[in-house]
């Protein structure tokens, strides 16, 4: 599928999602359709959330059901060997603790992506330079995403925990505008835009991209965009939003109110995102924890790794071997188990 088809398809998809949200918002706003409000403000969020949790668990347990028959870490540094040779404990973990440290570095700091290099082909020779900007953008994207998710907990908690207020204060430390600009939203939107442009700008990345690589980016951009608009441009009734969300989390849903079209687009996109999450590549979030090339110790010569389905195989035994070559072995003076004469 070429880039245009991929882009058009994913744009159609995101357009449809946003339109559904907008129609829902309009139905509530202009036609006072409480059925639509209940559907989009209560039922769909519940369904999406259940899909997310159930789907996530299903995917992870499905992976976990397949065993890890061999200890196959990708070793990225000196192994534990002779006592005077310095082991790279983070790149070639030997103990469980070292594995945990390696995994932490991978999951929290994107260690492997940090290693990235870029090959340029000049004068018939490949050259390799450092290339950390994808790592920077990826870190910015994921951490601001996390901050935004945590920040939104203010809509689901009463009273709001101090730590959330602190996080929000940090996020808004620039103190620009009223309400303050929260940096995370802009950084995440910027990073997602960057990831999108990168996918489009580099021929080889464009070549490997599928519609389902573009769609989540568009979805996230729409969510970020509507969020920023609601905070700074078309301000919505935060009190009403909170009342609605508290109703949902306390399982006493209140009749959703007219909060505006943007809100319903935002909410519906979020619902689509979390419902889509477990069935998509976004599951790399869960998968990275299970990756056998990263989460196993490089100690397979010291500690036996068990394979639950190890089955016996047909081998060529020494006896069969000697049977075939006995005469020649004796002639060459090689020791044998059975002298040739005994056989006859």
């Amino acid at each position: 599928m070429n880039v245009w088809a991929s882009l058009i398809l994913s744009l159609i998809a995101i357009g449809a999602v946003a339109t559904v949200g907008a129609v829902a918002g309009a139905a509530v706003q202009f036609f006072d359709l409480s059925a639509a409000a209940w559907l989009f403000g209560v039922v769909i969020p519940y369904l999406a959330f259940v899909t997310f949790i159930a789907g996530f668990i299903y995917r992870v347990t499905t992976w976990a059901r397949s065993p890890v028959p061999f200890g196959i870490p990708t070793v990225c540094g000196q192994a534990k060997s002779l006592p005077w040779i310095k082991q790279s404990r983070l790149e070639s973990p030997f103990t469980k603790l070292e594995v945990v440290a390696r995994m932490a570095l991978e999951i929290l700091c994107f260690r492997s992506l940090f290693r990235n290099t870029r090959m340029t082909f000049k004068g018939g020779r490949p050259l390799y330079g450092p290339n950390q900007w994808l790592w920077v953008i990826a870190l910015a994207f994921h951490y601001t995403f996390l901050v935004i998710v945590i920040r939104h907990m203010r809509f689901f908690t009463e009273p709001i925990p101090g730590v959330l207020k602190l996080l929000e204060a940090l996020d808004g430390f620039l103190q620009i505008g009223a309400p303050y600009v929260l940096i995370s939203g802009f950084v995440m939107a910027g990073a997602a835009t960057f990831l999108l442009l990168r996918r489009l700008a580099f021929a080889n990345i464009r070549y490997i991209s599928l519609p389902n690589d573009y769609f989540p980016l568009f979805l996230i951009l729409t969510i970020a965009g509507t969020g920023i608009l609601m905070r700074h441009v078309f301000k919505v009734d935060i009190v009403a939003v909170k009342a609605m969300m508290m109703g949902i989390v306390t399982f006493h849903p209140v009749a959703p109110m007219d909060i505006g079209m943007l809100f319903y687009i935002h909410l519906f996109c979020v619902c689509v995102l979390i419902a889509y999450f477990p069935w998509s590549k976004l599951m790399h979030m869960g998968g990275v924890f299970l990756s056998p090339t990263r989460n196993l110790p490089n100690n397979t010569r010291a500690v036996r790794h068990e394979n639950p389905w190890n089955y016996p195989v047909k081998v060529h035994t020494y006896e069969e071997y000697e049977e075939e070559f006995r005469e020649k072995m004796i002639e060459a003076g090689l020791p044998v188990e059975k002298e040739a004469a005994e056989e006859e």
């Binding site: 397949s66 196959i72 192994a79 790149e91 080889n204 990345i205 081998v315 071997y321 020649k328 060459a332």
Partner: protein, 540 residues
């Protein structure tokens, strides 16, 4: 064969830009010089592998069994249930492209399907179609496609253009390992009789005679006897290896390439010299003709075939009642030993945790597998001052070290060989950082791709390695490329001749053999290759 390989000036005209048609819509074109010949029927029959037949990759009809699709999908289902790596790596790739320019075959060919991500997508696309709901419903929109005979050809072509070197896996943020995908992919192809001859034949040989080259026991001994004579001519000392000797303390297993072809043979002489030197210090070792192969081309066929060939090591160790096993210099052999052997064919309770009889060092890092790498063993000897070495006997050499993929990324054996080299050679230079240690580049011929008919692929895939050698050759005058892998020793010489003439290839223990001063030896005038030692001519 060699005259069919394009000139270097032609070879470096590589376009890394993808074609205008999407990869699913770009049909595979199987090209001479890139593919390897298919496995022959008698070979597959000997190994009890299914569907041996006469077929050509260039033919439209590959004579597949009528129910090939069922066999293949059933094979996939089985492996999804057996290997978490496979299932997970089918699901979690985000196509970030970090792996794309890490593959030596992509760098050398510019073929986008040699980008690790796309190589995996060849298989993933079918996985999605057959094993995921989204793929079934939405098809191409989610990167799913129908399995067809054309797709199968694509698999065959590209899974035999991956050397399972795992360099891409180092850079993947989720540790997705293309080697796992290629290993499974080849396993699936083998269900349909679609191996290549250069893998199936050595595997069959190994099964029958104990080694890939099909050397029969008496001939194996004959060949080592040649080295005994050569060693005596050079050193004046006659070494006396023993074979299949029961009650020896240690069994030595090395790739048969070291017994068969230059320059591996000089490495074998290095082992013989070292073992002889240690004999009087209490070193008691035997060679085996039955387990006369360290390498394992079964690994390039299927997990099962790997186990079938590997089984000989422990079986022979048990029969000979040795205490532990010492392993020679080989790449994939050591990945199999380090990451698979004990799991597949252990536990080796008949063996003991290896202890160096010379230094008393306990190799606790090999406590369960009971097998020690010879550079670990030798590094320990040197560290403990047990070897009398004359470094100057390697003074004609300006050495660099090529980390073989498997010892590097499969076991983390990085500093041991360097320590040995630097103790037996005066001049050593590292290649650039992004081409050594865990980022090392493959020789371009690993995982059974060291055939003759695919020389163009080998030279293309070996280009990044050769280019790094060229860099130190030009900058520091490096003239010798050391390595700890028998495939390297077989394939790097032609690769160097092609890209960097003037650079030779050596095993680490050839260098040790040159430097080691044997008790009672005569004044050496040549190195193990029979070439004059530095300074000899002036003295004459």
């Amino acid at each position: 064969m060699a005259d069919e390989v394009p000139k270097t000036s032609e070879m470096v005209k590589i376009d890394h830009a993808p074609p205008s048609t999407g990869w699913m819509d770009t049909p595979v074109v199987i090209r001479k010089g890139i593919y390897s010949y298919p496995a022959k029927k008698p070979t597959l029959d000997y190994l009890s592998m299914p569907f041996g037949r006469e077929w050509s990759p260039l033919d439209a009809d590959w004579k597949l069994p009528p129910n090939w699709l069922d066999i293949l999908l059933e094979g996939m289902r089985e492996r999804i249930d057996r290997f978490r790596s496979f299932r997970l790596f089918m699901d979690i790739c985000v196509r970030c492209g970090a792996c794309a320019d890490k593959c030596h075959y992509f760098i050398g060919t510019g073929d986008p399907k040699n980008m690790p991500v796309l190589r995996a997508e060849l298989l993933r696309s079918v996985y999605r179609k057959e094993f995921t709901l989204a793929g079934k419903l939405m098809g191409k929109m989610v990167g799913a496609r129908q399995m067809t005979a054309e797709v199968l050809k694509e698999w065959w072509y590209y899974f035999f253009q991956c050397s399972e070197c795992r360099r891409c896996s180092v850079f993947c943020p989720y540790g997705i390992d293309t080697a796992e995908i290629t290993i499974i992919g080849r396993e699936l192809l083998n269900l349909l009789g679609l191996n290549i001859d250069w893998i199936a034949q050595p595997a069959a040989n190994c099964f029958r005679t104990g080694n890939h080259l099909g050397i029969q026991p008496h001939a194996f001994k004959d060949m080592l006897d040649f080295f005994v004579d050569d060693t005596e001519n050079i050193t004046g000392v006659r070494v006396n290896p023993t074979y299949n000797r029961k009650g020896a303390e240690i069994l030595f297993v090395t790739p048969s390439g070291d017994v068969f072809a230059d320059p591996g043979t000089y490495t074998a002489m290095g082992y013989l010299i070292l073992f002889h030197y240690l004999e009087s210090l209490g070193f008691d070792v035997t060679w085996s003709t039955y387990a006369s192969e360290g390498g394992n081309f079964g690994f390039f066929t299927s997990h099962e075939m790997m186990k079938r060939l590997n089984a000989k090591m422990y079986a022979e160790a048990k029969r000979l009642k040795v205490k532990w096993i010492l392993g020679g210099e080989c790449g994939h052999m050591w990945r199999v030993i380090h990451q698979y052997m004990d799991t597949m064919n252990g536990p080796a309770d008949h063996l003991e945790t290896p202890v160096s009889p010379i230094t008393g060092t306990r190799f606790t890092n090999a406590a369960t597998t009971k097998m020690v790498h010879i550079t670990e063993f030798t590094a320990d000897l040197i560290r403990n001052g047990k070897l009398k070495l004359d470094k100057s006997r390697n003074d004609n050499l300006n050495v660099t070290f090529h980390d073989s993929c498997n010892p590097a990324r499969g076991m983390g054996l990085l500093d041991e060989p360097r320590y040995v080299i630097q103790n037996v050679c005066n001049t050593f230079h590292e290649m650039p950082e992004s081409t050594i240690r865990e980022q090392t580049f493959c020789c371009g011929s690993g995982s059974g791709l060291n055939a003759g008919e695919n020389l163009e692929l080998r030279f293309r895939g070996g280009m990044p390695r050769a280019n790094a050698v060229k860099h130190v050759h030009e900058k520091h005058g490096v003239n010798m490329l050391a390595c700890v892998c028998a495939i390297d020793r077989a394939v790097l010489p032609p690769l160097m001749d092609y890209w960097v003439p003037g650079v030779g290839v050596t095993g680490v223990h050839e260098l040790v053999g040159n430097a080691l001063i044997l008790p009672g030896e005569k004044k050496r005038t040549t190195d193990l290759r029979g070439e004059d030692l530095p300074g000899v001519e002036e003295e004459d």
